[in-house]
């Protein structure tokens, strides 16, 4: 048992609890909810076990689905984000991201912001597309994606600043 694993388990439980208890009940303007639980996938260590990330994302999503009565939409969106995470890293931090020590929970830089932005957009678009499941409502899907993305990013950045470990 190393500390990285413990930190991840704690994040998994705390983010899920916060999502279900608080963020699922915000209903801003009647239907806009932020989904900062995906911070778990975003903040997962860059060089961590990628199989573990896929499996953990799946269970994270399936538990969300259980509480939201939504079939498997959160699971699908989370697994999708977990799989494409290395590609987003490559896009945001350049090709050699694996050799650098990429730390996400630190001061906001353009690279970090672009990473979070792309990750959230991918997740939310997949989520709302599957949740609505009717191409007829594409306008609503895009509107929901944009508004929820803004909300989620804002919350993600606030949470990162709050839980940032202060060891310099």
């Amino acid at each position: 048992m190393n500390s990285a694993l413990l930190v991840n388990i704690a994040r998994f439980i705390l983010l899920l609890a916060a999502q279900i208890l608080i963020f699922n009940n915000i209903n801003f303007l009647g239907y806009i909810n932020p989904y900062p639980y995906i911070l778990f996938i975003i903040l997962y260590p860059v060089n961590g076990n990628k199989y573990g990330l896929l499996a953990a994302s799946f269970f994270l999503g399936i538990i969300m689905d259980m509480f939201c009565n939504s079939g498997g939409v959160h699971a699908a969106a989370s697994v999708l984000l977990a799989y494409y995470r290395p590609y987003i890293f490559k896009f945001s931090f350049g090709l050699s991201y694996e050799y650098q020590t990429v730390r996400l929970n630190d001061v906001l830089t353009p690279e970090r912001f672009s990473f979070i932005l792309i990750a959230v957009v991918i997740h939310h678009f997949a989520l709302f597309l599957l949740e609505v499941f009717r191409i007829y409502f594409i306008g609503e899907i895009l509107l929901k994606t944009v508004l929820s993305t803004l909300f989620t990013i804002l919350l993600c950045i606030i949470i990162i600043y709050i839980i940032k470990p202060n060891k310099r």
Binding site: N27, Y31, K50, F58, D65, S70, V73, L130, F133
Partner: protein
């Protein structure tokens, strides 16, 4: 054989991703199909238990409103009782079998959703209390939905704010039937479709349940007509119905258990064979 193992080993990450994605997509598609086949639902001990805890806390904050609602309902029922034909001898429960056809199970909404296109409620009574799928759920103001899945102590309810829901309803004044659906736009309005042109509809008319199905008894309130649209192609009216219920704020609900239900279902099955 060696090559197959090599292939699986080399692509194991991608294969795991595809496996998990396919599993979640199958769950998604099942949840969207019309026939009930949802595997993951909040009617289980974990999410049901968590929602019950949260609802227990939230309940204190809305006690006053709930009391007012109950007092209003009591007043209405008292009025019905006192205006019975013979108020000196109040009607006794009829001992002849077949008259008391409907049982009511009281329950409480512990989780309410109204932000997506397919909304479900979770209530805190399940098969142990006699709740079964396809029972109607109402409250003092009007209808709420139909029981979808049950576990021992919890059940999920397809809200009328669900694009999959379709309920038989009629115009109270003229007895013209139609189907009640939701277009996914506003939480305060549902739509009554397929109302024949012959019907005289006016803004403000009351819409009630039709009683053609075994789920709801007839004449339970739904809402009032807000707008009338005419469809030139089909010669039917589409009515925008303003709900009596505020679906965003639900407390105690009643589940309707019709004693004739099983007999009727059996009979209809025989007819179809």
């Amino acid at each position: 054989m060696q090559q197959i193992f090599n292939f699986i080993f080399k692509n194991s990450y991608r294969l795991l991703f595809l496996l998990l994605l396919v599993v979640s997509l199958v769950l998604t598609i099942q949840s969207h199909s019309f026939h009930r086949s949802k595997v993951i639902s909040s009617a289980n001990f974990l999410s049901g238990g968590v929602y019950e805890r949260i609802s227990n806390v939230n309940e204190y904050l809305s006690l006053k409103g709930q009391n007012d609602e109950l007092a209003l309902e009591n007043a209405r029922l008292k009025a019905l009782l006192f205006n019975a034909k013979d108020s000196a001898s109040l009607p006794k429960i009829d001992s002849v079998k077949g008259v008391d056809k409907i049982n009511i199970i009281v329950s409480k909404v512990i989780h309410n959703s109204y932000t997506v296109f397919e909304n479900y409620l979770t209530i805190n009574s399940g098969s142990a209390a006699g709740v079964k799928p396809d029972m109607g759920v109402v409250n003092s103001a009007g209808i709420i939905g139909i029981v979808d899945k049950t576990s021992k102590n919890y059940a999920t309810v397809i809200s009328i704010l669900n694009v999959k829901s379709q309920i038989n309803a009629k115009i109270k004044k003229s007895n013209h039937f139609g189907s009640l659906i939701w277009n996914g736009k506003s939480t305060g309005f549902v739509q009554l479709i397929d109302v024949p042109r012959l019907a005289s509809v006016r803004k403000g008319d009351t819409i009630v349940t039709g009683g053609q199905s075994v789920i709801f008894p007839p004449n339970i309130g739904i809402g009032t007509i807000d707008k009338v649209f005419t469809d030139n192609k089909t010669n039917y009216y589409t009515l925008n119905v303003k709900l009596f219920n505020d679906m965003t704020n639900l407390g105690h609900v009643y589940i309707i258990k019709s004693k004739d239900r099983e007999e009727l279902i059996k009979l209809e099955k025989k007819e179809n064979e």
